[in-house]
Structure formats: C-alpha cells, structure tokens
Point group: C2
Chain length 342, copies 2
C-alpha cells in the first residue's frame, strides 16, 4: 500500500475518482453515433480518458468500476483495459473495482488481475493494468489468499469488502455474532474486542490477514472497503484496523459527508482514501456552461472542466474536515515512523 | 427455474458439468502453439467446445467458470462468450459462474449478464448467452434485486451463494448469529427457525427473496449455491428452502460423495443440480488411452471420450444415491403438482 500512501501524501489528496461510465452520466453528444456494444464501449473509453485527464493533477488514484464496462461484453472489457492502462500512463494508481470472490484455482484465476496471464510471460502478460483490486470476503481466506500472494509478488494491493455503503448492507454485515471469541478460535483482541457484528468480525480478519504485509508507510497490502455512511461504527473499524488503508465509498451522492469520511482516518490524517464517482464524472449535469446544443468536443470539454472543479472541491472538503494540521504533520514524518517514535 | 427443472427431468440427469479451462487441465498438444492471451483463449474455446459436444447428451446444463477465461483479459472474455453461445446452441442450459455482487447502478450493470446491453436492442444485445448466473449476497438485497428483476424480465434465473464448498467458508458462513429473529425483524419461520449461522440466515433470505418468483415446477427463479461438503447441515438448508433449486459444488474432487449430494434433494428427487468440473473435463488424465504422443486431434478425441464416460458415471452415481424411484415418480408428476395434491 506504500505506493498509494506515498501518492496521497505527495498530492496532499486522500481522494479517488470513481470511473463508472453509463449512458446516463455521459453527455448525449458523445452517444450520438452509438448503435452497438462496440461503439458504446468506445464512448465509455473516450469519456473515461477525458475524466482521467481532467483529474490527474488533483487525485492520486482512480477507481474504474468494471461492472459498467462488463455490461457491454468483450468490447466493454477491452475499453476497461484501455482505460486502466491510460490511467497508469498518466501516473495514476488504479484501483480496479471488481469485487471478485471465489475459491481455490478459481480465485487464483481471478488473481491474474494482479499477477498477469497464467503461462504467458513478458509485457503482454499484464492486460488489466490495475494497482489494486477490490475483493469479497464471503468465502473466507480461501478466496483472499491468492490475491494477497499475487499482490505481494507484484507490489500491488487489495481492498476487502468490510462494511459497504448501501442501505441493505446491514442485512448481513450488521448481524450480531453470538460469540466472536469462540468463532474466531483465538483471543486475538482485534477480532474479539467488544460486541461484534459480521462487519466488525470481518474487520478483525482483514487486520489479521494483512499483518504480515505491512509496508514502510505503516499500511498493509490488505486494505478494507468501509462506507462513509456508518458514522457510528467508524471508531470501531478504525481501532480494529489501525494499519489498514480504507477505501471509502458513500461520500457525496450516497449521503456521506466530509465529516463522516474524516472519522475513518487515523489521528495523523492518513489511512483512508475517499471515493466519489457520480459527484465528479457527472458534475457537468449541474454546470450552467453545459447545453445540449454544444458539439461533441465542447460537451467533453465541459465535462472535463466540471470534473476538475468538482474534484478540487472534494479535495478541499475532505482536507478541511481532517484535524487541523494532520495532513501537514504527516507530510513531514510518515505514519510508521510516528508509530515507532511514540 | 422451470426451464432447468424441465431439462433435468427430461434428461433424467440432475447434473451439470463445470467448464473451468486452465493450462493444467488441457492436453499439452492443444497448448503447443500458445504464445499469447489470444492463442490461449482460442485453446480454451476449442477445449470447451469439445467438452460441450461430449456431454450434451448426458447433462442438461453446463457451468462455465468466467474466472478462468477472465484471467486472459478481453480475449478470454470473448472466448467465454463464444463458449456460452455454443452451449446454448447445443441446447444446454448455461449457468454463468460469475459470483458478482455489488449495489445500485453497479449491480444493474452486472445484471446485463441476464438482460443484455443497456441501450442496445435486438439480437446484438445479448452478448453473454447465459440462462442463469451465480451472485454473492454479502451486500444484501441491494446487490440481488437487479438480478432478480432482470431474471424475471428475461425468463432467466440466479443462484445466490449460501454455503460454499471450501474449507474456509466456515469463517463467515458458520458464524452463530446472536438473535436471528431480532436481526431479521420478522417472525418469518424460514429465517428464524432453530439456531442460526450466517449461512442458515442467508438461506432464509434466499427463500424470502424468491417466494414471489416461483414457477410451475415449484421452484423459484432465486436458487442457492449449497456445497456438498456440509452434510450435517443438509436437512437444515433443505427445510429452510423447500422451493429453492440448489446448485451443488463440491462433488468429486472436492470430497463430496453422491450420498452427501443426495441429502440436498427434496424427497421427490428434485430440487438440486450437482456440479462436477475437474472430474469431467480432466478425466483424460486418468485415461489409459491418453498418451503425450497423440496428435492434437487424437488428444481432444480422448478428452471427449473420457469426459463422456465420466459424466455418464457421475449421472449414474447421483441417480443411484437418490431414494429408489424418486426420479421416476417425478417424471410422471411435477414437484408443484405433488405439493398441491398432498
């Protein structure tokens, strides 16, 4: 996770822009000639590129949502791969939001997202161009280990779903566990401290899975997805996972505020990266400069300018909500060193 | 789920062959010219086609594992889509083992696997050629509803992960819930009966999610993945989900026996479809007819003959373990009619 932590520090920006293209968030001028999966995929790739260019000096990372591209079949997957590649070429850290989860040889196959095509060597092996991916914990460590191993071998990272931002996440993730200590078969305080829900229990597992994979930044290769919409649990998640980088969805359109997000950082202002998707890529919809009579090029320019402004505003909002001086303090001395020194 | 139930009945075969191509299960003659993602994807597509031809008169369904194809990037996804299409053309019911799970507009995008490309109409819209897909419940109903709606609109089905066959599935799925009744906010007996683990609780949710989507066969469009490796829980899962079709992994190589699998059927011998992947597609490895000196064509013929024999043996094994006469009784009168009549 060191590469991401360093990039956040360098850009003074714990923010990530979610690339979730779909017809509703793309100016209609860009969709005019669309009549097939291939042409829609081209439009997605074009739009993604414009957003990447617009925000690459404001955020250290982008999070392309593979589902949006996958909805278009093979042509969409090709557009996804061109998008991730372009983002990496622009110097961005790419979090592939793939939420995969399976077991054994199947999990190993999915881990090719990080490790490259099995049996193919050289530059052609990495078709995905992702620095990290999101994964689902429902199948236990069997589904996670192949990703951790691939991440370790290739200096990449993963983010395990812990507490998602959607309303019905409570159906499973908020279930109270009868005896977390017995369930864990361990007295490990990170797993058994206090009352435990499934989400809190998974938080303990994530801390445990990651502990051998901590980098110089003080953060592990095994990150966690923790939504900004569960403010009451923020301290519990943070204390269970002090060395875990949080990928935080739910800010903005989904209702999470900067103050909610701020509660998910460590005291030194590190340890979380806040995502916004629609709030950035669809900002053109609220831009008075936008009009249906614009040309395709003008509409894309307008989308770019709106995305740039929205990303800058988001960064200011998030930074402004962190404890005064926390990011500045951190610029001088890393989380890890602070820990060791204190 | 009626189309699958009917096909099982017609072929007297509650079996599905998993298509999980990877270099280790393909005769090396087929991989000789492989030097790129594209050529490996071609080999996967060729091998898949051969297996489909070999088993299409023995099983009603195949379950291509998208991870194996996805490991090869866009070329692999293209091979996956050609494989599913070919299987449907051969009259097989295709279960896309995709285990996707996300929320809101993202889940809707994944549901394009069942509903076709957004905004594109006509024959070109369905690029995936799947009759059902597997989905992950960790995010709650938000992640499932779009799939149910897409299934309902397109006469397709889903299988929700409930209790998977792998050892570490216990880490989450076997957690004891403190108060299932309070958690569910309902007195619904399917959810709150007896002591509840996360897996049992999810079983109740699956029954509830599916109840408005029951077909003439007596089975709902919302199926469940229940591994054959948890024999002690079989009766609990079956009683919580009487109208749920089970997709059962874990038979064969993973250690589940036909007797274990048989415990997951309803008393009339319906309600489950048992998967075998490696046991069928890699059967050539144990075939004395196979030799490294065979030509490419001979090796594929050998793989086909071995897969055919292995699938026939599996069918006989499963049918033989069901209560005597249960499949025969069922051929005459459907599960639904029996229910109504009893």
């Amino acid at each position: 996770m060191d590469r991401l932590a360093t990039a956040i520090e360098k850009m003074h920006s714990p923010c990530v822009v979610g690339l979730d293209p779909r017809p509703e968030v793309i100016p209609r001028q860009v969709l005019e000639d669309v009549s097939s999966a291939e042409s829609l995929a081209e439009a997605y790739a074009d739009f993604s590129r414009v957003i990447i260019d617009a925000v690459s000096d404001i955020v250290p990372a982008v999070k392309p949502q593979i589902a949006m591209y996958e909805a278009l079949g093979p042509a969409g997957i090709s557009a996804y791969c061109r998008t991730t590649r372009y983002a990496q070429e622009r110097g961005l850290y790419v979090i592939g939001d793939i939420k995969r989860g399976d077991i054994g040889s199947t999990a190993q196959a999915y881990a090719a997202h990080l490790s490259g095509i099995p049996g193919i060597s050289g530059q052609g092996a990495d078709v995905w161009h992702e620095d990290a991916v999101t994964v689902n914990p429902y199948l236990g460590i069997d589904g996670i280990r192949p990703f951790i191993e691939a991440a370790e071998r290739n200096d990449k990272d993963i983010f395990v779903l812990c507490r998602t931002s959607n309303p019905s996440s409570a159906q499973l993730q908020d279930l109270d566990i009868k005896d977390a200590k017995e369930a864990a078969g361990t007295a490990d305080a990170r797993i058994v401290q206090g009352p435990a829900t499934v989400g809190m229990y998974v938080a303990g597992l994530i801390a445990q899975w990651g502990e051998e994979h901590c980098g110089a930044s003080g953060y592990s290769r095994v990150g966690a997805v923790v939504g900004a919409t569960h403010i009451q649990d923020a301290a519990g998640f943070r204390s269970r996972m002090p060395h875990t980088m949080f990928l935080v969805p739910g800010y903005g359109v989904q209702g999470g505020t900067a103050a909610d997000a701020a509660a998910l950082f460590n005291a030194d202002g590190t340890g979380a990266v806040i995502n916004s998707s629609r709030g950035i890529i669809a900002a053109w919809k609220k831009d008075p400069q936008y009009s249906p009579s614009l040309t395709r090029g003008q509409a894309l320019d307008c989308a770019a300018a709106s995305a740039h402004r929205a990303a800058a505003a988001m960064r200011a909002d998030i930074i402004g909500s962190l404890k005064p001086g926390s990011m500045e303090a951190h610029t001088a001395v890393s989380h890890n060193h602070q820990k060791k020194g204190s």
